[in-house]
Amino acid sequence: MRDVAVRLVAGPLEIVSLIVILLLVAAAVAAPLLAPFDPAAADGFNTLRGPSSRNLLGTDFLGRDVLSRLIYGAQVTAAVAIGSVAISILFGVPLGLVSGYFKGLTDTVIMRFIDALYAFPPLLLSLVLVAMLGPSMYNVMIAVGVIMIPTFCRLARAQALVVSAQTYVVAAQTIGTPAHRIILWHLWPNIAAPVIVQLTIGMAWAILAEAALSYLGVGVRPPTPTWGVMLAEGFQYLRINPWLSFIPGMAIFLTVFALNILGDALRDGLDPRLRN
């Protein structure tokens, strides 16, 4: 654990990334305390303004405070990132473990289904799933979570194949340890590290997917402030006020960038071959 902690604060980039993620979490948790204005409060006399001392990041086409909307938007971003990754781990990892441990027909059936799911381009499939389920934050979580299941399943399966060939697993099988116990007590703890690394990368992808769906108008619907919706609304006023598209885009970019940097740092810290 110490190695991981050291890697997470190894350089300025990692420290900045940690700060970005902590800021996101703080904004998501304490949005009502941090936001200077109500994110839905329109002001017809104060529309499309640039940054000022009153509105630090300016106002949008309805005169709403961009900073407040950005802070509230972090709630959706954080919720979708955590929720969708939780769904994909909950289904993907057990499927991968069972597939890799039992091999044979079980493996073939599960993996062909996963291959079929993998054949669908992720964003297109999530688009269809949200259309099916209806536009809401929880449905976006489900849609994005489902399309990440193959990634976690393949990862868990590949690791399970390696670990289940180890002597200690063979020994456990020889003394008659039940399969579920071997999977839970021997396989899972030994594959947790790459799953944790994939978790951060998965969160980064989920944030991009949520923003894309909201941008297309099929994700979380206005007036709920999300960064994707803000980007889409800002795009309409690109010629008058490019600031409106720049700010939410930068927020998405910084968050995804920070998660990718932390994912790399975690991988280096958790992989014994890269530790030294």
């Binding site: 289904f113 054949a119 381009p121 269809v128 894309a212 297309l216 885009g249």
Partner: protein, 317 residues
């Protein structure tokens, strides 16, 4: 080799079958009555008799496996239904739009290959120099940058501020090739630069792995020129995983054009998918999803076969 191709093709056929099952299932779970979806009308105004007649006409009174078989038979003969939004057969609509998406994806893919492989090779050769740092930072930026935001920034700089390139619309290459390329450049850059990051990472790590091997050390000890070592020995040996990634990512690009086509007003498959969702034109949506998924499966199969042809270890494994 033939055995490998046969085995891999069989796997792809199973995956294709499952893909059609998933698309069929999605269509049945979509909100709204299937009669209304397929007929493009509401069922509210229909009498029970008319509704029953419509159900019988579309085969919806049959058990689900029979409905699936009917549907797959129609798909195989090119009867993909009628778009309720335009009244045009879905197949015709797809045939019009697929070339636009294919051209966009291909241009983006070429940009990605050119930029990604060049920076990847440079980063590996000049390891631990500013060139390596710059290339690695570029890759991290590319992976983290939402392509739709990059698209908006490109519009802002090249269309709004500099007025060099058009921001929306599409012109067929048959009408005016130069204008066609002008319309495609910005969306292709937005898509391609994100992909380039993936290729760069793969090229760099592949090159570094090969550069550390004994035969390279031997070549250097023999006094082989560095140019020959890099291009003939290293890149050739590192190219197999790069080629695989390139193949797989091309399939992904075809389905990844949704947002970019919407931003740049390109009438391709991605935009058709979004329009179909908004207008509840589920037959057209089904057509897009099925066509793109089939394409991905075929591209993956071709990539695997090329990989096996280049590397005997794969087909003998």
């Amino acid at each position: 080799m033939l055995r490998f191709i046969a085995h891999r093709s069989l796997q792809s056929i199973i995956v294709l079958f499952l893909v059609t099952v998933i698309v069929f299932a999605l269509m049945r779970i979509l909100p709204g009555d299937p009669v209304a979806i397929i007929a493009g009308t509401g069922v509210e105004g229909l009498t029970a008799e008319e509704e029953a007649r419509l159900r019988a006409r579309f085969g919806l009174d049959q058990p689900l496996p029979m409905q699936y078989l009917d549907w797959i038979r129609n798909v195989l003969v090119g009867d993909w239904g009628i778009s309720t939004r335009t009244g045009v057969p879905v197949w015709t609509e797809l045939a019009h739009r697929a070339p636009i998406t294919a051209q966009l994806a291909l241009t983006a893919w070429l940009i990605a290959v050119l930029v990604g492989v060049t920076t990847g090779v440079a980063a590996a050769i000049y390891r631990r120099t500013p060139i390596d740092s710059f290339s690695t930072a570029f890759a991290m930026f590319g992976i983290s940058m939402p392509d739709f935001w990059l698209g908006i920034l490109l519009i802002l700089v090249f269309s709004v501020w500099m007025g060099l390139l058009p921001s929306v619309g599409y012109v067929s290459p048959a009408t005016d090739l130069l204008l066609n390329l002008k319309h495609l450049l910005l969306p292709a850059l937005a898509l391609g630069l994100s992909e380039a990051a993936v290729f760069m990472r793969q090229t760099r790590s592949g090159m570094l792995e090969v550069l550390g091997q004994d035969f390279i050390r031997v070549a250097r000890a023999k006094g082989t020129p560095e140019r020959v070592i890099i291009w003939h020995h290293t890149l050739k040996n590192a190219s197999l995983p790069i080629v695989t990634i390139m193949g797989l990512r091309f399939g992904r690009l075809i389905g990844g054009t949704v947002v970019i086509e919407t931003i740049f007003g390109l009438p391709g498959l991605g935009r058709l998918a979004v329009q179909s969702i908004v207008m509840r034109d589920y037959l057209a949506l089904q057509g897009v999803v099925l066509l793109v998924a089939l394409f991905v499966v075929v591209i993956n199969l071709i990539t695997d076969i090329i990989y096996a042809a280049l590397d005997p270890r794969i087909r003998l494994a």
